[in-house]
Amino acid sequence: MTGEMIAFFFLALTAIAGGVLLINLSNVVHMVVALIFTFIAIAGIYITLSAEFVAVVQVLIYSGAITIIMLFGIMLTRHQEKEKRAPRLKVILTGLAIGLFFLIMYGKIKDLDFGQQNAELHIDNTKKIGIELYSHYVIPFELTSVLLLVALIGSIILAKRDDDEKEAKK
């Protein structure tokens, strides 16, 4: 039982506990807060996989930005404080289908192993990612900036109040 193992089990347990809380809690805000634990634990998982830069990005984007934007979405819309449960039959059928999916996938992945190469991904991780992004992946990188601009403008236009249409209707 090495320290790496202990860290992995702790982080995996936190991630799964956050997910289970998301399913079981009834208050909507509590669900989102439970998911922050999952996102931060996944950032820790990335560190055990020697991906420091992805871990930092995970903390910034997911547990920072996306969680806050979802909390804003909850605050801006009126909702029942206590979430009503879906019909019982639907929950059971969905659970059975997902359980079947889980068993099939688990049967496939449980013995998967390619053998370990001695990769040293953690040395100068951020620097190497930067060099790769600006040399080999420069076109997808620039396209991503276009995508972000489109998403920004699109969401502003979608969420903007349509005053002109209302005046036209009058």
Binding site: T2, E4, M5, F8, A12, I16, G19, L22, I23, V28, L35, T38, I42, I45, Y46, T48, L49, A51, F53, V54, V57, Q58, I61, Y62, I66, I69, M70, F72, G73, L76, T77, R78, H79, E83, A86, I98, F101, F102, Y106, I109, K110, D111, D113, F114, Q116, A119, L121, N125, I129, E132, L133, T144, L147, L148, A151, L152, G154, I156, L158, A159
Partner: protein, 104 residues
């Protein structure tokens, strides 16, 4: 070298994906459905980063792919929330059972 087998990471990602799928299919608040989809995308990212380290040719490609996925997921969350707010303004609801104007 690492003492954790690849299958452990894949199993964790599978469990998180199943939780996200269950939440996306059974929850009735649309914000929770959106955030369950984010959880599923996160599980996929764990797979990408795990295969980047444990594949036959270890390299940074998987990590860079996961960075792109995170960007697209953030854009998706923003647009999804904008659609949700536009819908809320018209229908006064965030309940996915009542969003059926295209079925009638």
């Amino acid at each position: 070298m690492s003492s954790i087998p690849l299958a452990a990471y894949l199993l964790l990602a599978l469990i998180l994906f199943c939780i996200g799928l269950f939440g996306a299919l059974t929850k009735r608040n649309a914000v929770i459905v959106l955030i369950s989809i984010e959880l599923m995308l996160n599980a996929v990212n764990i797979n990408l980063v795990a295969f980047a380290k444990y594949s036959i040719n270890p390299g940074l490609t998987g990590q860079i792919f996961s960075l792109f996925t995170i960007t697209v997921a953030a854009a998706e969350a923003a647009v999804g929330l904008a659609i949700l707010i536009a819908l809320y303004r018209n229908r006064q609801t965030v309940n996915v059972d009542e969003m059926d104007s295209m079925k009638r």
